[in-house]
Amino acid sequence: MQQSKLKTIYLSLLLAFICLLLPWSGFMLTIRPEFLLLIIIFWLIRAPNLCNVGTAWFAGLLMDIATGGTFGQYALAYTVTAFFAVMYQRRLVLFSGTQQLVYVGLLLLISQISLLILKIFAGMQLIGWTYFLPSVTGVLLWRLAVFFGLTATGRSRGT
């Protein structure tokens, strides 16, 4: 049971990574949601015994390789995000659907802001408010997943 679930986790992470590798460009690149982080958050909430901060770190490292940036930037951002996700994981069951969405949105923002800070330290140019659009599309994607009956807490709810 655990074995098969672990396989599911890695398979979903691989799929998310391939989604990321698709040749995005232009506006689509600007709004591209963080597939990998979304999947990580999902599993962090659903199966914290199989997917933890370390998994997020590895996923972040994968992002670093894919983006070609300095090693460790995405890794750190994802680690911090994963920590917050795990912190409130047990409380999340009591959240309503909307609250859960806000929570996921906040997590995505945390990752983006920590990445922004790291990039500013590295002397990168700011790119304006459109930088935060992936968080918005990420939340929308999460809502879509919930709509199709995929809930992170493991039980379906009315809303």
């Binding site: 040749p23 995005w24 232009g26 914290p48 370390g54 972040g60 983006t67 460790g72 920590f83 047990r90």
Partner: protein, 336 residues
């Protein structure tokens, strides 16, 4: 959930919901410090370049897989391009070829003449650079930088520092080469500088990418500099990386304000920086050129005055070259 109840569950076989292993905070501290160590190592030391190359090489099949649908779509669309369109294009290309043939004829005589003059001056021959045709696989994923990934790499003898051009002009420079692909930083990226020359009057300067929009800046030029709107900027070739005379940008805006001793000059790139798929990777015309590690602009044997602040490691390469050129250091663009 009451605390006592929770405790009781953990003593029995705890359900997956509660199992956690070591505390998340400990993991946070561990992995954060690991990340910080990685960031420090990667940005200050060059140990991880080999690791990155290997990893990107391993990921390459996955990349090809991800590109496949778009590639297929493009191929299908291309297949359905109408006959008429192709005929038109053929006609146009024929005309173009004719025109270029004429220009080429003149060029060959000019080249001969140039050769002769160079011999008279006993100057070095300008090398004819070899080049490799590459195709842009995808745009860089980092929203902070302007980069593209090209499907030619170490296997095709692409090395770091090569100029990347399209039919119209320079679009960037290879900043990392992986086994089967290479990363090209576009000239509009903030971190890329390119030594240029104003075609009209030969004034030399360095153009920096703006980073924000698709433009280049010409900083550190005095407000009385002889540059007009529409001036064409070409590569000067004195950096030993870009072949001389390639079109880079055209001056699009000049702002001279009373409060600054420098003019604010904005240029628009001439090459299709954001819109082509095929590019040419031109090899460095220098033999025995030291491999540049990270920062793309590397004016080897350059005038000290035109040297950008970066890449201090390459400074003492060719002291011989500096002597004959030192007469031109008094040019007005001498930056601080």
């Amino acid at each position: 959930m009451a605390r006592g109840y929770n405790h009781k569950i953990e003593q029995q076989q705890a359900p997956a919901f509660f199992v956690r292993g070591s505390s998340p905070f400990a993991r946070l501290v561990f992995f954060s410090s690991l990340s910080l160590a990685l960031i420090a190592t990667d940005s200050r030391l060059q140990y991880l370049n080999g690791v990155r190359q290997t990893l990107v090489g391993v990921l390459h099949p996955l990349q090809v897989l991800a590109n496949a649908p778009a590639q297929l779509y493009g191929d299908v669309i291309e297949y359905f391009v109408t006959h008429n369109h192709l005929l038109n294009e053929n006609q146009q290309l024929k005309q173009q070829a004719l025109k270029q043939n004429i220009a080429l004829q003149r060029l060959s005589t000019l080249a001969l003449e140039n050769n002769h003059l160079r011999q008279l001056l006993e100057a070095n021959q300008a090398l004819v650079e070899s080049s490799v045709l590459g195709e842009i696989m995808h745009v860089g994923r980092d929203p902070f930088t302007k980069k593209v990934i090209v499907n030619r790499g170490k296997v095709h003898h692409i090395i770091v520092g090569e100029a990347v051009v399209d039919a119209k002009g320079v679009i960037g420079q290879v900043t990392r080469s992986y086994p089967l692909s290479s990363e090209v930083t576009l000239i509009t990226d903030k971190s890329l500088a390119i030594p240029i020359q104003v075609e009209r009057n030969g004034l030399r300067a360095i153009a920096f990418g703006n980073g924000r929009d698709n433009t280049l800046d010409l900083p550190y030029l005095p407000s009385n500099v002889d540059i007009r709107r529409g001036d064409k900027l070409v590569t000067s070739g004195i950096d030993g990386i870009y072949p001389a005379g390639l079109a880079v940008a055209a001056v699009s805006q000049i702002e001279i304000t009373a409060d600054s001793p420098f003019a604010r000059i904005t240029c628009a790139p001439i090459g299709g920086v954001e819109n082509h798929k095929q590019v040419l990777l031109v090899s460095i015309p220098h033999i025995g050129f030291p491999e540049i590690v990270d920062v793309p602009p590397s004016p080897v044997g350059d005038l000290p005055a035109t040297k950008p602040k970066m890449s201090p490691s390459i400074k003492p390469v060719q002291p011989m070259l500096e002597k004959p050129q030192s007469g031109s250091t008094s040019k007005p663009y001498a930056a601080e």
